[in-house]
Subunit: 202 residues, 2 copies
């Protein structure tokens, strides 16, 4: 049986999303068929708006609405202008904001160095970062790239590029995750946790 074209079109489009295979796509499609009208309308409207109504902040390259040149964080005068936290993706900004433990600004690289995927320094927002750090009164750059091969390589590269500038460069701590179990920690994490052990104070 060939499915009606509108159904097959939606299944095809949904299948192109990451983590959604043909089976999930058809389940979602048939769910949308019987769901209230406004759900598929809301989704269609939100999808049309996502590209046209958003843009990148001209300072930190995080996502912002297209009627603004700067994102909400860069516009916020109360935030510490002297610290920049460098992350790979806008979702990482969200993760750090959720901790409520950081009050500086961000710089979104929009990726990480990856020779395999052909992503070099010029494909990331590295030049813009160097310009920001050179120009403004920045005292510290926190490298918060992912604790992965690519993230580590990117952090190492940035450290070299920033070495000549009068700025403190730090990296997020490695160690055991909170609530984790020593028994199940992988050896690399445990090795980092040992190497980074801290005095317990008084």
């Amino acid at each position: 049986m060939i499915l009606p074209k509108p159904i097959q079109d939606l299944i095809n489009a949904l299948s192109r999303l990451p983590g959604i295979g043909p089976k999930t796509a058809s389940r979602l499609t048939f769910f949308l068929l019987t769901a209230p009208d406004d759900l598929s309308k809301d989704l269609a409207a939100a999808l049309s708006a996502i590209k046209s109504e958003t843009t990148y902040c001209q300072t930190c390259f995080n996502i912002t609405t297209s009627d603004q040149v700067l994102c909400e964080i860069c516009r916020n005068e109360d935030r510490d202008q002297e610290v920049i936290c460098v992350v790979e993706e806008p979702l990482d900004v969200l993760a750090i904001e959720r901790t409520e433990g950081y009050n500086g600004r961000y710089h979104v690289l929009q990726g990480a160095l990856s020779p395999i995927e052909g992503i070099g320094p010029d494909d990331l927002r590295i030049r813009e970062l160097i310009t920001r750090v050179s120009g403004e009164g920045v005292h510290e750059v926190i490298l918060a790239t992912n604790p992965s091969m690519e993230g580590d390589a990117t952090a190492m590269y940035l450290r070299q590029r920033l070495a000549s500038l009068p700025v403190r460069t730090t990296r997020l701590a490695r160690g055991l995750p909170v609530g984790g179990d020593l028994e199940y920690a992988d050896q690399h994490t445990l090795l980092r946790a040992l190497a980074g052990r801290q005095d317990m104070g008084d």
Copy 2:
């Protein structure tokens, strides 16, 4: 940090889909942000079309394009007119068609009896099924509802309703799934497999 409204709108809309939580929704949203333009456009167009360009077949209540009164299967003269396979959802039609082992027609109930969810016989396409079986030259009705509590209850109810009509009523076989392992079969399945055991012939 409050996310830009277009982003939050799409995350909210995606979160309403079954099996997609807030984390998956934001991952999909940020994927769509950086994906090629045509993906979000295709999705939006397919979503808008899904309701307006599809309708239910007036005979079997399967999904069909809205310019047709009957679905592709009901229009196909080559298919056996004397057998009707009763299923719960359009996706079940797809599953049976995929076997390429059935050449009759279908009847999509659009659900199963469920007193807990308040779904009674009048909420399903049961009256239309009785009319079809009474009127046309139907010789066999295969009850292919799900092997679940609701599916079984629906099949039992339909058997009673069809008892007075001159038609053979059958139910899909229960037993061990192909490729399964006896050791891991649950006791209900094993009990059904025992009860439904068949002679091996010559």
